[in-house]
């Protein structure tokens, strides 16, 4: 299984490298190669997750390694499906490095299969964890779009159209990307929190107990709720929306890892 993981990792690495070289050289053939490699990596990764599920007997989202790996997998497929529906120029050059970073984190996390404590053995585990991580994947796409927006906008504002202006899509397209990702990511995030709460009631008898992870999920949720609310009421768009997507994703990452490192709590044994 280790070999399979290394294979997956290598495929992601290769896809990222070609995407970045393509971004630099704009050689169209490399783009096709990169897309193909990412698809292969995504398929291998799916195989890896299935293998792990078979071995452990539960959905592979129980350890930190599994959670991050699942996050990367969700991001890959969110991106691939997204590209199929809606094309954003050179989006891949920003998303694939992020997938690779997640995979590096997964690479250095302990990879042994863990047994689930009885409290967590429930159908709510796959439901809650996978929905929450898929929400994270969409929010990660919004984050990448936000970075691209700020890079592009900076060149337009400074009136020096250079490296990025040539390679990035229009501000309008990036802003639409932001809106699309958030309008999928936010409902998923909401559902993630609701399923978590229902599961908590089943496992510990209370819907909400202000565990740090719960608190931070709520903070994250409020940030995104505010972004969407402002967008649809006063028209917070573009630059502000891009910055908020980046800030929001910071909260996502903190909820995912920061809480475990700094605050502990009932989620501490899992990702």
């Amino acid at each position: 299984m280790d070999i399979l993981f290394q294979l997956v990792f290598a495929a992601y690495l290769a896809a990222t490298a070609t995407a970045l070289v393509f971004f630099w050289t704009l050689n169209q053939r490399l783009r096709t190669v990169s897309r193909g490699l990412l698809l292969v990596a995504g398929l291998l990764h799916t195989g890896y997750l299935v293998a792990r599920a078979v071995v452990s007997g539960h959905t592979p989202i129980a350890s930190s390694h599994e959670a991050v790996s699942f996050f990367a997998w969700a991001l890959t497929w969110a991106f691939l499906i997204f590209r199929w529906r809606y094309r954003v120029k050179n989006f891949g050059a920003f998303v694939t490095p992020m997938i690779t970073i997640l995979m590096i984190v997964a690479l250095f996390s302990p990879r042994q299969v863990v047994d689930l404590p009885p409290a967590l053995q429930s159908w709510w585990l796959p439901a809650h964890a996978s929905i929450a991580l898929m929400a994270n994947a969409m929010l990660a796409l919004a984050f990448c779009g936000g970075i691209m927006f700020l890079l592009q906008e900076r060149e337009i504002k400074r009136k020096r159209l250079g490296f990025f202006a040539e390679r990035l899509p229009s501000l309008e397209a990036l802003d639409n990307l932001n809106q699309h990702c958030l309008s999928i990511g936010f409902p998923l995030l909401t559902m993630g929190i609701i399923t978590g709460s229902v599961w908590a009631r089943q496992a510990w008898g209370a819907y909400w107990q202000w565990d740090p992870k719960e608190t931070w999920s709520l903070i994250t949720w409020l940030i995104y709720a505010a972004i969407l609310h402002q967008r649809f009421t006063v028209g917070w768009r573009r630059r502000r929306a891009a910055i908020m997507a980046i800030v929001g994703f910071g909260a996502v990452l903190f909820t995912l890892w920061g809480v475990n490192f700094f605050l502990g709590g009932v989620h501490s044994y899992a990702g």
Partner: protein, 431 residues
């Protein structure tokens, strides 16, 4: 014919503010002013040009100031300006200065945005109109068609034209970087300059949804709006109009700013922070440079656009110098031609040409007849001379014939054409 007979009288964006130019208002049909100028006493030939940035009358007239004065009075009739003001705002080029001016106008060196290509078409239209109304005679035919070839020469030998085209292209590229798809977007033209029209045309070609034209005089706005199938508003409606447009191209000749940061800030809220792309191609500037600091507002002036297309400033200067050199060169050539339009030089030239032919042919014949005695040689030369004199007798009489100045000039041109006096190295004389 003395070169001083060519005169160019007019106002343009260098000499008169837009408020003055607009009072001349010869928008639309130019045939009425053309006919009126043609009727002025002492005016042999004329051509009338009216664009957004200039109104000029090109005259071939009696070298007394009376005709020019009358033309000036006609141009400013109804403008309500005093005579002193009129003199202050107009320029008058005479002789080679006028020739040089026409060449510079045609080559777009005198335009607000140097190198913009529309002026040549406008000049061609003016020329066509003058031809249709029989207002253009041999001098203007030659001058204007020469100016078109000078413009062409400058366009091919320097990169001056590509800079203006690429500036409006850059504006379109930027709009696409900001808005993506341009269909359904609205553009507002404030002021109606040549460059603004060019940019608007480029945007329309990219499928922009709607054009709104704002101008100080509504009439002019309406004319332009009709051309773009758009809507016309007064310039005082500029700020409220901003709530509904995506791109503003400003090219008014206003002396100060017409749009300030404080005016746009509340508009952005009203626009729900939809981006606004402001293009300022006026000199002096129309739009507050501070506007670029507002969120979702992107302000580019003409220099910014140039910078975007990376036309190096030093290189631009070099190209402009090259173009001016071409103009100077062609002006000298034209002056030379014009000087030959006098009877004396033409007759002398005709004789010289005939003599050259006679000498060359005699030499060739004699070389083939080595046995011919000295007497025979003399007889042959005399015969050649006599033949030429007889042959040239009637053309000379034809040239010296009495007639109106225009007829005389026409005859002169005809003779020059028949005998190929303006052909130098096969470089056609028709222009």
């Amino acid at each position: 014919m003395p070169a001083e007979k060519i005169a160019c009288l007019g106002v343009n964006h260098h000499t008169a503010p837009v408020a003055v130019r607009e009072r001349l208002a010869f928008s639309g049909d130019c045939s009425r002013p053309l006919a009126a100028i043609k009727e002025l006493a002492g005016c042999d030939e004329c051509c009338f040009l009216s664009t957004c940035n200039r109104v000029e009358a090109l005259l071939v007239a009696d070298p007394t100031a009376e005709t020019i004065k009358a033309a000036r009075e006609f141009l400013f009739a109804g403008s309500g300006l005093s005579e002193r003001e009129v003199e202050q705002y107009t320029y008058l080029h005479i002789g080679s200065a006028a020739v040089r001016h026409v060449f510079r106008v045609a080559a777009s060196l005198d335009s607000m945005v140097v190198g913009e290509p529309q002026i040549l078409g406008q000049l061609k239209d003016a020329y066509r109109l003058a031809v249709e109304h029989n207002a253009a005679g041999p001098v203007l035919h030659r001058l204007l068609s020469k100016s078109f070839s000078v413009a062409k020469r400058i366009r091919t030998e320097t990169s001056i034209g590509s800079s203006a085209v690429s500036i409006s292209y850059a504006a379109v590229q930027l709009a696409r970087k900001i808005f993506g798809d341009l269909s359904g977007r609205r553009v507002l033209l404030a002021g109606a300059g040549e460059m603004a029209e060019l940019a608007a045309e480029h945007l329309l070609a990219q499928g922009i949804g709607k054009v709104v034209v704002a101008n100080r005089t509504l009439e002019r706005a309406m004319n332009l709006a009709r051309r773009f199938n758009g809507e016309a508003v007064g310039l005082d409606e500029l700020v409220p109009q901003l709530a509904g447009v995506d791109i503003l191209i400003s090219s008014t000749g206003a002396p100060g700013l017409i749009l300030r940061k404080e005016e746009v800030r509340p508009i952005m809220r009203q626009r729900r922070h939809q981006p606004l792309f402001l293009i300022d191609i006026a000199v002096p500037r129309d739009l507050d440079p501070g506007l670029n600091d507002l969120d979702n507002v992107y302000l580019y002036d003409i220099d910014d656009l140039r910078q975007v297309v990376e036309v190096n400033k030093a290189q631009r200067k070099q190209e402009a110098d090259k173009a001016e050199r071409i103009v100077a060169e062609e002006t000298i050539k034209f002056d030379h031609w014009l000087a030959n339009m006098d009877l004396g030089p033409t007759i002398a030239e005709l004789r010289r040409k005939a003599d050259e032919i006679r000498r060359a042919e005699t030499a060739k014949t004699l070389a083939g007849l080595p046995d011919l005695g000295l007497e025979g040689q003399k007889a042959l030369e005399l015969m050649g001379n006599a033949m030429l004199n007889k042959l040239l007798h009637h053309p000379m009489l034809f040239l010296k014939e009495e007639g109106t100045p225009e007829e005389k000039r026409r005859n002169l041109l005809l003779v020059r054409k028949i005998f190929g006096l303006d052909q130098s190295g096969g470089n056609g004389n028709g222009g």
